[in-house]
């Protein structure tokens, strides 16, 4: 502990903070700004918003609470945190909704002005929790934020109700002080953001400063915290959510193929932001088609690929179910197609705003007939960029559909993204240096087994394809049984060969030992953190995260063999485990998370510990 300015400054490795208030309180905005400043001051971050599922629930109700949680600190921050240490609660409903997850002994910063009888009732409180003993396990800091904000912004010239909307910055100011963060970057951001209105800028800045000063001077806070810096790889960084990263990955991927990106999609939660994001980037010649349904979207992407563009379609579970037939057409016509699937909790409409990882098997097998395709999964928000890029690479190089799995958690969570130098990324141009005489629509490259991608507009290469079985090489329609058997095997073999064109699996932690935790997708962060803890505590445990699910990397099976037990962790009933059991002989165990929420570090820890204990 170091004392600064009369307060103690405590060093911590990581911290988890949650901002919570009404939907209209601007919690997402200040959460995001906090994340940026934490990042800029050298922290690793990971954040996750928690929106209400109604569009606009009545103000002050439990259904209307909007939260933003983030962890920041050293490089071990890989999740938004199991349990917040600090909760900023802008009203009683926010307190009620978030309290169960707060760490015992954690800090509650409550806007006491909003704990009125009316609001307490809306939040279904019988008595005021700030006044009874229900919060005895926590450090409660009551701040009259509404009033202080009002006073601080009085000079701005804005109306009272306009000024009231600044109070999220008051809260942010306090939080920044609490973690010893500078105000300057935020003030600069405000200059840009509110450049159209000096009054708004002034009021927000005043509120922010007031919050900061209040925390610094008030007797309420005894200590504040300085979190460790992360040892992140050098480079320039920005914050991305998974959905932003998917969009960026597609743009950059298509750009490196030298082709136009055609994104055809139908809106669906939680994938819609990819559509919104891509619609903004017309200067990249991105052609966005908002189709009339998912089938049309998928077919338009296929048509675009046929015409020589990079056809991408994006959706979530129900939409994926609808695209099944069209994806099968892409398998048969051997055209590049990227299908982004941002998973949500199912089956059927399920819980559209909740996360789950239960679309693995439909991605693998959800098409009639033998219909193999590539299946990838992004491990984190930033990884969404890389895997989207990778999807474009594999789809165009191997002339195949690629299904890329993300999920609601990744879609909305944010983390630092190390900005790659675009020219350092692989060149994805596919050279089909053919003369018409050499060309046949289903003649294949000997190595990749990909057929040539000759688009309309190329003289001399006129040809016809379709969903009927094709004769080998010539591509004419064939009902010949031997040919069919051959083509079924060729399609399977083409996908299988990709195993030698993807990075091998890596194991983090023990090189061999007792428990290997195998995960895929958004469970990455929690598994990584849990395994690291246990490994550092001396256990022979390791983590293997699959980003390539079909085909598996070549060294995967052999790697499994180095561990006596395999714990498969996933947000479903055991879909990956079933795939593993069907291919590898090992001792498989499962941790299945099914509650619609991101996996917690302690859940993984507990499961591993239990396995370690077993004989």
């Amino acid at each position: 502990m170091i004392a600064t300015g009369g307060k103690e400054l405590v060093q911590v490795r990581q911290a988890t903070v949650r901002f919570a208030g009404d939907s209209g309180d601007g919690m997402q905005l200040v959460g995001g700004q906090f994340a940026d400043i934490a990042s800029m001051t050298g922290s690793a971050i990971c954040s996750f918003p928690d929106f209400p599922s109604d569009i606009r629930a009545p103000a002050g109700t439990l259904g209307g609470v909007s939260g933003y949680q983030l962890s920041f600190g050293d490089e071990r921050v890989t999740t938004p945190g199991d349990a917040p240490f600090v909760l900023v609660a802008m009203n009683p409903a926010a307190l009620k909704v978030c309290l169960p997850e707060l760490q015992k002994g954690g800090i509650i910063i409550a806007n006491e002005d909003e704990f009125t009888p009316t609001n307490l009732k809306k939040a279904e409180y019988e008595s005021n929790p700030l006044e009874d003993d229900s919060l005895d396990d926590y450090r409660v800091i009551c701040v009259p934020m509404t009033r202080l904000n009002d006073e601080a912004t009085a000079a701005s010239g804005l109306s009272k109700s306009q000024r009231a909307r600044c109070k999220n910055f008051f809260a942010l100011g306090m939080a920044l002080w609490l973690y010893d963060h500078p105000l300057q970057p935020l003030l600069e951001w405000m200059m840009r953001k509110f450049q159209r209105s000096a009054e708004v800028m002034a009021a927000n800045a005043a509120s922010l400063r007031a919050g900061h000063n209040f925390a610094n001077t008030a007797e309420l806070f005894r200590v504040h915290y300085q979190v460790a810096r992360a040892k992140l790889p050098a480079g320039r960084y920005r914050r991305v959510t998974g959905n932003e990263a998917l969009a960026l990955g597609c743009i950059v991927g298509a750009h490196r193929t030298g082709r136009t990106l055609v994104y055809a999609s139908y809106p669906i939660t939680p994938a819609s932001e990819v559509l919104h994001e891509l619609a903004k980037h017309k200067e990249f010649d991105v052609r966005v088609i908002q189709a009339e349904d998912e089938i049309a979207a998928c077919c338009a992407a296929i048509g675009a690929s046929f015409a020589g563009s990079v056809g991408v379609t994006g959706t979530s579970g129900p939409g994926l179910s609808l695209k099944a037939e069209a994806i099968g057409l892409a398998v048969m016509t051997e055209l590049p197609l990227v299908v982004l699937n941002v998973q949500r909790a199912g089956p059927s409409t399920g819980m559209p705003t909740k996360t789950e990882q239960a679309d693995l098997l439909i991605s693998m097998f959800g098409r009639h007939g033998e219909s193999p395709a590539v299946v990838l999964a992004a491990a984190s928000a930033a990884d969404c960029f890389h895997m989207a890029f990778e999807s474009v690479r594999l789809a165009t190089k191997y002339m195949t559909p690629v299904l890329l799995l993300s999920d609601s958690f990744l879609a909305n969570s944010a983390e630092p993204f190390r900005i790659p130098d675009p020219v350092s990324l692989p060149d994805l141009r596919t050279g089909w240096d053919l003369t018409p005489g050499d060309f046949a629509p289903y003649r294949r490259a000997s190595q990749t087994l990909a057929r040539a991608w000759m688009a309309p507009g190329s003289p001399g290469f006129e040809h016809r394809i379709g969903g009927l079985e094709k004769e080998d090489e010539t591509g004419t329609v064939s009902y010949d049984g031997e040919n069919h058997a051959k083509m079924v095997r060729l399609r399977a073999e083409k996908i299988a060969r990709i195993a030698s064109d993807i990075p091998p699996v890596e194991v983090v932690g023990a090189e061999e030992g007792d428990v290997l935790v195998v995960g895929w997708g958004s469970t990455y962060g929690a598994i990584a953190a849990a395994v690291e803890q246990l490994h550092q505590e001396g256990h022979r445990v390791a983590h293997l995260h699959l980003r390539y699910l079909n085909p598996f990397p070549q060294n995967f099976g052999q790697t499994l063999g180095r561990f006596s037990r395999i714990l498969v962790v996933e947000g479903n009933c055991g879909q990956l485990r079933m795939m593993l059991r069907s291919q590898f002989t090992a001792s498989f165990f499962a941790l299945n998370k099914l509650d619609g929420r991101p996996l917690l570090i302690r859940e993984v820890r507990t499961a591993i510990e239990e396995l370690l204990k077993r004989e």
Partner: protein
């Protein structure tokens, strides 16, 4: 060399197209043997398409034929250019992707009454309302041919088929009406049994910018023979068809002795020869009218009460989807400069870690 035409076609197979070369019908005949039933109306449509394509001034490699599933949807295999035999009902969507990817292509959709008006209605309608610059040929034989004879959405009420042994209990859908309701910019009807009319109509469609929707009445010899008897080529057709001509009064019958008048929005057949009505009272066909209402009224005329109207119901100009898409891209590029990947990645708040 007895047949120079064939030689030329073969040459183009192996050496690649040459845009400047004059194309002929043979150039568009694919090596695949045509496998419709003997006597199927589809043959005649294929022949007309193969005739007009070389005359459009478009290089062979710039055509794309996209279809769904059905007898009709086998069409692309027989046209020697780029072709995509898609899945049932989805040809307009595939074609939309093709056209958006490369608006320079001349894109043709071939669909049937089942493919385009049962499973695929939605895509047809949305394509039309977007006015994507492509041509939709709907072969209407009022039956599911490929699946061997179930009723289709255009089958007459009461029709007995394999799946309706006691007769259908559904009012048929009327293709032209649907296309007009979607405010199609080019909507026409022709009949496979009249090659000349078909050819003119197809040419007009090809020359229209925007979605052209053409219903082609086509005979299915095997499962629905003579569905369009009253307006087929064999017999004297003057009394049972109206040939629409923009700007002209609507007349039909031998010597144009009869016509259509409208009274409080109700169409009536009037006899000009008997003096029942004068030419001045006749409805004037206006394919360029703003409102599709007149066209819709004509589309609804049907035997036995009325003659069937053939020709172009509507033909108006409106910016196409693909044009508008490109112009937004252009505007955006002017505004922000051509997309720079490094700039894109570095946008927003960034920071350096070292």
């Amino acid at each position: 060399m007895s047949s120079p035409l064939i030689d030329e076609a073969e040459k183009s197979e192996t050496t690649g197209g040459d845009c400047l070369r004059i194309l002929t019908r043979k150039d568009f005949q694919s090596p695949q043997t045509v496998r419709w039933c003997p006597g199927c109306g589809d043959y005649s449509i294929l022949a007309q398409i193969q005739k007009i394509l070389p005359e459009l001034g478009i290089a062979r490699e710039n055509f794309v034929f996209v279809s769904g599933i059905g007898c009709s949807s086998r069409f692309p295999y027989y046209v020697n250019t780029y072709g995509f035999h898609g899945i049932h009902g989805r040809a307009p969507s595939i074609a939309t992707g093709v056209k958006c990817a490369n608006p320079d292509l001349s894109v043709w959709v071939v669909t049937g009454d089942g493919d385009g008006l049962s499973i695929g209605t939605n895509h047809v309608i949305h394509t039309i309302r977007r006015n994507i610059d492509l041509n939709i040929l709907l072969f209407n034989n009022r039956i599911y041919g490929l699946t061997k004879g179930q009723y289709s959405p255009t089958s007459e009420f009461g029709k007995k088929t394999k799946s309706s042994p006691m007769g259908t209990i559904e009012q048929p859908i009327r293709p032209i009406q649907m296309a007009l309701a979607a405010e199609g910019t080019f909507v026409a009807r022709t009949i496979a049994a009249d090659p000349n009319h078909m050819r003119q109509t197809l040419e007009a469609a090809a020359n229209h910018r925007g979605t052209s929707f053409i219903e082609i009445l086509q005979n299915c010899r095997v499962f629905n023979d003579r569905a369009f008897e009253e307006s087929s080529a064999g017999k004297d057709t003057k009394d049972d068809r109206i040939l629409l001509r923009h700007g002209e009064p609507i007349r039909f019958g031998t010597g144009g002795g009869r016509g259509i008048a409208v009274r409080n929005m109700t169409p009536q057949v009037v006899d000009l020869e008997s003096g029942e009505a004068s030419v001045g009272e006749l409805l004037i066909h206006d394919a360029q009218a703003d409102s599709p209402a007149l066209a819709a009224l004509l589309a609804a005329l049907e035997p036995p009460e009325f003659p069937v109207a053939l020709g172009v119901f509507r033909n108006i100009e409106r910016p196409t989807y693909d044009e508008l898409m490109l112009s937004q891209i252009a505007a955006s590029t002017v505004q922000r400069g051509r997309g720079d990947v490094a700039k894109l990645l570095n946008s927003g708040t960034t920071w350096e870690v070292d």
